[in-house]
């Protein structure tokens, strides 16, 4: 097998699950570990981890909310890794932005390192990756593993946090294509649609569900009108907002026609013939 540049000469990478991958998004984790194993890449869960705090804190003076992410990066470093992968888009975004701060903001890191007296100082040396960045370099290997080519039209839905802010984008932030290339490599056809990088409403679901219902209607209808028969995503919150509330969307919009929603690793497992 060709070495994967992004992984260096190793075929094992530290894996950070995050809170939701162990509960609502179990199928995401299970299929991811299995399909990467098929590709010869081992996702090794780090021994100790904590919730990253989800959303990255944006206030100049709120360093406290960044500690959880820093501690997770230190855990990976302690276990000898210089790269860390995480499946959830929100975890990816938070860990990646925090790591950028660790590399660039000396003042902030002085405060954080002084505060975390019990931890070794952290310097931003663990690179945070998303599995789609690894797959981006392995499309030929992916093609070679396909046993049951996909036969549907899939719309790749990126949402916001894999692409923005642009410093952490895994692909072109206004017009990403890595998931479309993955769908095609798996034998399916990829449908382009303009709302592929529009936010699903995110945490509004906790107190302003109408906003999420409207976003769901807009996004799924737009994908369907462009020919999609299913949606593919990488974020457990997008997955929830697009999939689990479709009944409520139908109530609010009687003309709504839903679509099945999958994690990108689920369609990989289907195409590879991996049993759940």
């Amino acid at each position: 097998m060709q070495p994967v540049n992004i992984l260096g000469d190793k075929m094992e990478i530290a894996y950070y699950p995050g809170c939701t991958l162990k509960t609502n998004a179990k199928e995401f984790e299970e299929t991811a570990i299995k399909v990467f194993e098929k590709l010869g890449v081992r996702l090794k869960e780090i021994n100790k981890w904590y919730c990253c705090g989800t959303v990255y804190s944006l206030a100049t003076d709120n360093l406290m909310y960044r500690l959880a992410a820093i501690r997770n990066l230190i855990r990976a470093k302690e276990e000898g890794y210089d790269k860390l992968v995480t499946l959830c888009s929100i975890c990816y975004n938070t860990l990646k932005q925090t790591n950028l701060m660790a590399k660039e903001d000396e003042d902030a890191m002085y405060k954080i390192n002084s505060f975390m007296d019990e931890e070794p100082d952290y310097d931003g040396s663990v690179e945070v990756l998303h599995p789609l960045q690894i797959l981006n370099e392995m499309m030929d290997e992916v093609k070679a593993k396909v046993k049951k080519p996909l036969d549907k039209k899939y719309a790749a839905y990126y949402g916001c946090l894999l692409l923005r802010p642009k410093e952490v984008a895994i692909d072109e932030y206004e017009n990403p294509s890595v998931m479309e290339r993955l769908i095609e490599a798996l034998g399916g056809s990829a449908v382009d649609f303009p709302l592929k990088n529009e936010c699903c409403g995110s945490y509004n679901v906790a107190c302003n569900k109408e906003a999420v219902i409207d976003a769901n209607y807009r996004i799924i209808t737009n994908a369907r009108k462009n020919g999609a028969e299913a949606i593919v995503t990488s974020c457990p919150l997008c997955h929830f907002n697009l999939k689990e509330i479709q009944k409520e969307v139908k109530k609010a919009y009687p003309d709504f026609v839903g679509l099945p929603v999958y994690y990108f690793t689920e369609i990989m497992a289907m195409a590879f013939g991996v049993k759940k």
Binding site: C19, N24, A59, C160, K166, S202, Y203
Partner: protein, 120 residues
């Protein structure tokens, strides 16, 4: 400089005077239909020192998706301005949600992020 503007600039680290009101942020915002004030209008009101801006829906509907910031031709990260406005309320110990009213069947990812964004 009025206290509101200086507070927002301090918390966000953004220069609000860079905004020339082109409205590109509002055009791209996916949550704009839920808002009572457009994102570019929020900037204008803060510059004018109009304190009613902290009681509008807009900062709470913002889902921190960063669309406004990446499209701003003047590199103003409006996402951070919305966070500053939320924090002005939250740091007065005024929470935006009552946790006991939040539905229990949500995934952790929704509960943790909502708690971080809507409570102090």
């Amino acid at each position: 400089m009025n206290w509101l503007l200086s507070k927002v600039e301090e918390l966000s680290g953004e220069n609000l005077y860079a905004c020339y009101q082109c409205g590109k942020c509002s055009a791209g915002c996916p949550m704009v239909n839920e808002m009572d004030l457009l994102p570019n209008q929020v900037i204008l009101l803060v510059i004018r020192g109009d304190e009613s801006v902290v009681d509008t829906k807009t900062p709470w509907v913002c889902a921190q998706c960063y669309q406004c910031g990446v499209r701003c031709p003047k590199n103003v990260d409006i996402t951070k301005i919305m966070e500053a406005l939320r924090l002005i309320k939250l740091r007065q110990n005024i929470d935006h949600i009552k946790l006991e009213k939040v539905k229990k069947n949500l995934p952790q990812i929704a509960l943790v992020s909502a708690t971080r964004k809507y409570t102090g």
